[in-house]
């Protein structure tokens, strides 16, 4: 993107009908650390890669519980993300207070999108520079939504945002058709594989990713949104690596996570 005379504020259209400030806000999302979300017909999983700002610091928290039945992970200006998380939490609490029922995920995504839209139509505001993956469980099942700084939101089976997310998206595009039948374990495995794609050769460990899951388990009870324990993640990663190291049959296209099939594309 290059500077031009139509990008000074968010209330200016360009002759081609674009609002550049909004697009620049979406750029901010692309610069953030990668985040991946997946959905099956019983569970939804969010994985965020943890990138510390420097060797001395700890990493930014990017996965937050919004209510028992829904959580978010975001990429971009994490401070904006925190503020939006507070807003979402409030919305859920207020809805539950008035209606004694959980706020359905689609309505939550809608409220978030409306809030984002306001910032694209006021001369004294700026758009939120963060993209959110909203994963939740409601009466109609688990859902995954992506909320844009532009105020748009879409429901996804699987999605990846942030830097080098194209590699993860390519991986997911190959696999997504089978997701609905996955068990929670398989879902987490594929989510981790997707994140691995974005790491570009760096080793995946339980300390450089955060995994969260929400869903309905077999007996019908809901598993509330929670961050998965690092020990369990490490165990899953170990089992994934063990499967990779198992004699690789070049003839059979293994379902297992051979991550290096597609050359990670850097866009």
């Amino acid at each position: 993107m290059f500077r031009n005379q139509y990008d000074t504020d968010v209330t200016t259209f360009s002759p081609h009908g674009r609002i550049f400030q909004m697009e620049y806000a979406m750029e901010a999302v692309k610069q953030g650390a990668a985040t991946v979300g997946l959905c099956s017909c019983t569970h939804a999983v969010l994985v965020a890669s943890n990138k510390p700002a420097s060797e001395l610091s700890s990493f930014q928290r990017k996965v937050f519980r919004v209510a028992d039945h829904v959580g978010v992970a975001f990429s971009g200006l994490t401070a904006d993300g925190r503020v939006l998380t507070k807003f979402l939490r409030n919305e859920c609490i207020n809805h539950a207070f008035v209606y004694e029922a959980q706020l359905p995920v689609s309505r939550l995504a809608l409220r978030l999108a409306d809030k984002a839209q306001v910032c694209t139509q006021r001369s004294w505001k700026r758009p939120y520079g963060v993209g959110l993956l909203v994963a939740g469980l409601d009466e109609t099942g688990p859902h995954l939504y992506y909320n844009c700084p532009s105020g748009n939101y879409f429901e996804y089976q699987a999605f990846a945002i942030g830097s080098r997310s194209q590699a993860a998206k390519t991986f997911l595009e190959r696999k997504f058709e089978g997701f609905n039948k996955y068990t929670p374990e398989q879902l987490i495995k594929d989510a981790l594989s997707a994140i691995k794609e974005t790491l570009q050769g760096e080793k995946l460990t339980s300390s450089n990713c955060t995994v969260a899951i929400v869903g309905r388990i077999e007996d019908g009870t809901a598993e509330p949104f929670q961050v998965v324990d690092t020990k369990r993640i490490q165990a899953i990663i170990d089992s994934m690596e063990a499967a990779e190291e198992a004699p690789a049959e070049p003839s059979s296209m293994q379902e297992e996570d051979k991550g290096s099939d597609a050359a990670p594309m850097d866009i």
Partner: protein
């Protein structure tokens, strides 16, 4: 004497007094007219005749009208008409006893209005956090609103601090929430029970506007006056004036405390019309929360 179509004015006036006692500290303000006798129903019942009670009732409603205090003023017509009161006493009793490592919170399950029973199966107990239980008696509408309010605030705390609220923290929050409505109080008489951060039992007792204290045991509600003397006798807690300061926690074991609570409710049920039907006992200890139900007299 006003002609009234309502059968028993005496009883209604006494009931009126019970209602006005609902927000007691609210009406017995420092600016109280000293010439008025203390508005205690027992006092009234014992010493006054029906006529005096009616006159007293009328004087009090005039007093109330002058002072306002959250009540609707209906103007001249209100003299003959029954005044709308935003409060109602749904009766019931709550008790809590704290021990070393456990806390017993109990409440009956009867909901009444006037001389009628609305339901025999209504829980007055609400779990606010893992080690924190609130039992309230009074006006059920306000109690429900108060419980919802506290539950929402607890959720906000959980989001901000990444842990559930401790019992002493909830105690302070409840006090603040009640005082926030100082001038249109929650008609709720609360007892908060649970384990503190050291795992010791704690009981906090409140009035309608948030004044609270940590004690070893407490009773609130319509049967409280019948129960408290018995608890005092059994669980005599050291006076707060004695030095060195001693623990306000009972020496009884958990099962002894539960038995005491059952006995005490059985006695209160005999004499208090608003207490009865079923007793819900909740025990919190280090292994979690355990609930049981005991039948009480249904009359």
């Amino acid at each position: 004497m006003t002609i009234s179509t309502v059968p028993d004015r005496t009883l209604l006036a006494a009931q009126d007094e019970l209602d006005s006692r609902g927000a007691p500290e609210l009406l017995a303000e420092p600016e109280t007219n000293k010439s008025l006798p203390p508005c205690s129903p027992a006092h009234l019942a014992s010493s006054k005749s029906a006529a005096e009670i009616q006159r007293f009732g009328r004087e009090r409603s005039k007093q109330r009208r002058r002072r306002g205090g959250g009540r609707v003023n209906l103007g001249a017509a209100s003299e003959a008409m029954a005044r709308f009161s935003p409060y109602e006493n749904n009766g019931g009793t709550c008790v809590a006893v704290a021990g070393d490592g456990y806390c017993v919170v109990a409440a009956d399950t009867r909901l009444s209005v006037g001389y009628s029973i609305l339901t025999r199966d209504h829980s007055k107990i609400c779990q606010l956090a893992d080690k924190c239980i609130l039992a309230s008696s009074g006006f059920q509408g306000d109690i429900k609103a108060l419980q919802k309010n506290l539950a929402a605030k607890e959720l906000v705390y959980e989001h901000n601090h990444n842990k559930k609220m401790s019992c002493p923290a909830m105690a302070q929050l409840l006090s603040n929430t009640l005082y926030y409505k100082r001038f249109f109080a929650y008609y709720a008489f609360n007892v908060l029970g649970g384990l503190d951060s050291q795992g010791k039992g704690c009981v906090f007792t409140y009035d309608a506007v948030g004044s609270y204290e940590r004690t070893g045991y407490s009773a609130q509600g319509t049967g409280a006056k019948l129960i408290t003397p018995v608890l005092d006798n059994k669980l005599k807690s050291p006076s707060p004036l004695i030095l060195p300061a001693r623990d306000a926690v009972t020496p009884l074991s958990e099962s002894e405390a539960v038995d005491l609570v059952k006995d005490v409710f059985a006695s209160a049920t005999e004499r208090d019309i608003y207490t009865g039907d079923k007793l819900e006992i909740v025990v919190i200890n280090s292994s979690g929360i355990h609930r049981e139900y005991i039948e009480l007299r249904k009359d």
